[in-house]
Symmetry: D2
Subunit: 291 residues, 4 copies
């Protein structure tokens, strides 16, 4: 709506990105189809609460960051994004667990499944992690063996697909013919979500606990957001992605170290912190000291 | 995105309507701020399932109507609308019950409340309905008395507001000062919702069971949709708003009458029904006959 | 909470059913783990609106049916059910699309997948339907061929599982080892949902458009509800499952037949309809006549 | 379901609390009507993912705390609570903004409004905060004046109610008669929510940014949870309520102080931290040092 100057660059970015296909994994992609709103719409929506109109870019940035760090999440719901995504079914199964989205998926009941399957790169054939009980470790399998596995997987995929095609050819209903296709089969969907819930998705799926194959999708979405919603993304990165939370028991232990912190000389000039943020930091340190 | 001809008129309609203020009640309004998608986006999203691309307007219309009458609601979630609305608090209280929306409301804690209050027209001062236990009847109060009531309401609103202003002036926190303001006070918000859930809102709030003061808002939203999403709205009107549902017991009773229905001569030419719809109607009638 | 007599039988039913394993398909099951509320809780919640207390069973039934046929869905959200379900992954993929539920699923990243896979019965190996473009038809494949296919599917499942076990044995991370397991692999989850949304699930998944393999689960849930929430289920069955909706254009066509309907002799005694329902039926018929 | 010993005390607590009326403000209350699940159900649900059965209380506690601090929120959704609450309308307006709940509210259209209104205590008549722009400050108004205001508010409430009664008496529809009742009028509802979203509600509404009059309700709910879900509540308190989050820019500033922290001597014995938590703390400190 209202345009207060700084949006021009951004609009160019959006134009460049809309509809563009970003390749992911071997046969996947992400395309941003449409976006409703931008960084300034978040502020506009928040300002309804204050009964005040449009402000300067600088004030917008300060407000947006304030909203982010204080968990005023509702204004971030005012931006909506629609993507077209293609990914292996085992990734789709993790993705769909995010319920605050609208989805239309390719149907293996209506339409024939394609012959594309995900094959990991050799360096992704890793051992089970001993630390993170759900994930792969940093240790790769012996490369020769890894390549053998990939070949075997490929053969197995081809075989499953041949049987599928055979069944379909003789008239078997697609919904039955497909039941033995592997979880590595590619599917695709339209996926629409608001920015607050997209950030939650990113927080969970960019994390090192998330499976590599969904993480690469999350990272690309993050790259897209960085360009089209630069202020929001920066705030998300500072206050959520790269923040650290200490529990009460942890604080109790680190409080003596923290107590050393001298915030008297802290100014907006010698830090990345605004005046408000400095005041908030003091409050946190004082809260910790008093534990 | 893809444009297949018939959208041009529609785009003009959208341009005419975006940002335009539609007056409602004495001090309320509705403004459509932004829309993501149009009638054809619904079809595009649905076609992801079929693995097929863009089609003609005629095919779009047939598909969209098919989706509507078969409760394939997910493609309708692919259109998103953002409104700015101003309404009395008692209306806002009913409205907010629709949880599938994003909201940013004017805050009586941050900002001063305005001096605008809803006053009913004399012809809306009606008696309690005896049939519909929650609503007003068709019977108006004696007009003189109605006008007296309106005057008294007005005085009472002014008095409440004066006290509010007085408290605020002497420094009382706004969140406390406002607690005796009447439910007729106006508030406003940004409200963002997808089309499927907006249709559900309309179905419930255009209904004669809904309170008049929210119905007038619903009706205006319906008028807006009619212009910017003509095919969707027509389908909603035919299959939801103006449809009739008969329960099993009712069907049991009307089945003899229905049995008389001669669908042999029914054709797309002599009815508003497509070939598919005629087949579906036959199925319904046969289902009823066999009860 | 309050117990007004008729609940005793029901409580027995609940005790019999809680925790009981209902077999579905070849290796699946459904177990109802917990339930919050019963038929009378729905009425109690609704009565908060009317500011009135507990009533007799008869009044409860009438109220509940009134709520159901008038789409007053919120009181049905006051009953919550928690299930433990085991099903093939292709069924789970359809099931999870119902977002208004809470889910905890078995993790193929943490834990080893079991060696159980779904194999259709020979009579379910059918051809693609020509009418319903997404489903199987009524026509079975030649039985010999069907049995061959089943054997081939079984071999293919065993092979995939052997490769999986081999990879896991040599230390490959489970999240990678499993990517070629078939969609027929069994998974399981805890699934918690409220009654309103469960009815919506049933409406969509008991329907003949739904895939047979999820329909059998929906049917068993329906059987469970019939026993533990008999009044609610009956209302759902009368007003939703077995009702028929006519669109405006259809009504226009059947209105002459309907006009024949003589409701003068219609009484609660000679029909399954209450006085209120008879009044509502008259309204519908009159609405139709005036089209 | 499965009971592993420590639940006995807890079951007693639940029995004592179910149905009990906790008074809030002058005419409000909270009653816990029903609960589905307990601390151990959360673990049971989580263990579906690991394919493992019931464990000891100690292991349950460790698991539950792990889930809480790693934002594995889905198992907390497996506990459901139903409350009966009575509160002033201005509180209800804030409360209802939490959309992840099921609600049935007293209807001013069906039923007559009662003559109870909220009146603040004199010490709550405070000035607008200069720091927190939405809230009251710590400064009370002069007590005499505060008491005057309370008297005036009381009169104003009585007057509004008299007019309301008068309108209703002469037959005016309740939905119209009530529009000038004040926001301080009491309403009530049944409110059902899962534990994850209830914690989110508490986090936002126990916070000092929340209005005092909703905070007192949140605090009482917290007290109830402390008794019936002691392990969950403790985890919530340690990891959410009393945790501190530092943004990237803040970390950059405090990193030198933090660097002093000597975790070599840190053991489960001399801290409140488990071995896993100590490992996690080291990771955090190392992450910070490397900024
Ligand atoms: C026979 C059949 C065929 C199907 N074919 C396909 C297909 O080809 N492709 C495909 O993608 N899907 C298909 N589906 C799935 C379908 O589109 C729905 O996703 C699914 O049935 C869940 O329905 P629901 O949205 O009503 O349920 P729920 O997700 O439980 O939602 C219930 C209601 O809650 C509200 N709601 C819940 N979450 C949200 C949210 N995040 N945003 C907005 N509103 C929300 C909506 O009002 C919704 O109607 C098919 C379903 C059936 C039954
Ligand atoms: C101190 C304070 C001040 C506030 N001031 C204002 C104000 O001035 N103006 C104002 O309008 N509000 C204000 N709010 C309300 C606030 O914006 C939230 O609406 C409210 O706190 C509910 O929070 P929630 O959205 O996290 O909760 P819920 O609605 O319970 O949602 C929980 C989570 O579920 C998801 N979710 C649920 N429903 C949807 C949906 N329909 N679409 C997308 N995601 C969904 C989201 O991930 C959400 O975070 C204030 C709240 C607080 C605590
Ligand atoms: C590393 C990792 C490992 C995981 N492992 C497992 C596993 O082993 N097993 C497993 O089952 N899952 C697992 N998950 C999935 C996880 O439990 C969540 O389902 C998923 O991350 C979606 O998160 P969400 O609920 O926050 O998102 P959304 O569904 O988008 O919800 C966002 C918020 O909206 C609200 N909300 C939305 N819908 C509802 C609803 N119907 N009812 C109540 N509140 C609602 C809630 O407040 C919620 O926090 C894992 C996830 C990650 C990232
Ligand atoms: C004429 C009329 C009279 C009414 N009278 C009363 C009354 O006396 N008392 C009263 O309390 N209310 C009353 N209501 C409000 C009514 O109960 C609903 O709250 C309101 O209409 C919103 O409807 P909804 O739930 O379908 O909409 P939404 O909240 O938008 O939900 C749409 C769908 O999404 C799903 N959904 C969304 N959020 C959730 C969630 N958190 N959990 C589970 N499913 C979810 C459900 O499937 C739901 O049907 C009345 C409404 C009308 C129209």
């Amino acid at each position: 709506m209202q345009n207060n100057g700084y949006e021009e660059q951004n609009i160019n970015n959006v134009q460049d990105i809309l509809g563009k296909e970003f390749k992911v994994l071997d046969h996947g992609f992400i395309r941003l189809l449409e976006i409703m709103g931008d960084d300034s719409s978040i502020c506009q929506a928040a300002r309804v609460s204050y009964g005040k109109g449009t402000k300067s870019v600088r004030e917008d940035r300060a407000l947006l960051r304030y909203l982010m760090r204080n968990a005023h999440t509702s204004p971030f719901e005012m931006v909506e994004l629609k993507f077209h995504v293609r990914m292996p079914i085992f990734v789709a199964r993790q993705w769909i667990r995010h319920r605050t989205a609208n989805v239309n998926e390719y149907s293996g009941r209506y339409s024939e499944m394609t012959d594309e399957f995900y094959l990991p790169q050799a360096d992704q054939i890793r051992t089970q992690s001993q630390v993170n009980k759900q994930a792969r470790s940093e240790d790769q399998l012996d490369e020769t063996r890894a390549n053998e596995i990939i070949e075997q997987m490929k053969d197995s995929q081809a075989e499953s697909y041949n049987e599928y095609k055979e069944y379909v050819a003789e008239g078997v209903a697609r919904e039955i013919a497909r039941i033995n296709l592997p979880l590595s089969s590619y599917t695709e969907w339209y996926w629409k979500i608001d920015l607050h819930n997209l950030f939650r998705f990113l927080k969970l799926r960019m994390d090192h606990h998330a499976q590599y194959e969904i993480r690469v999708y999350a990272n690309i979405i993050a790259d897209i957001l960085k360009q089209i919603l630069p202020i929001s993304y920066e705030a998300f990165s500072d206050y959520i992605l790269n923040s650290v939370t200490f529990s009460k028991s942890e604080l109790f232990k680190i409080k003596d170290s923290i107590a050393n912190f001298d915030f008297d000389n802290l100014t907006p000039e010698n830090s990345n912190l605004s005046k408000t943020e400095i005041a908030e930091l003091k409050n946190k340190i004082n809260f910790i000291k008093q534990l």
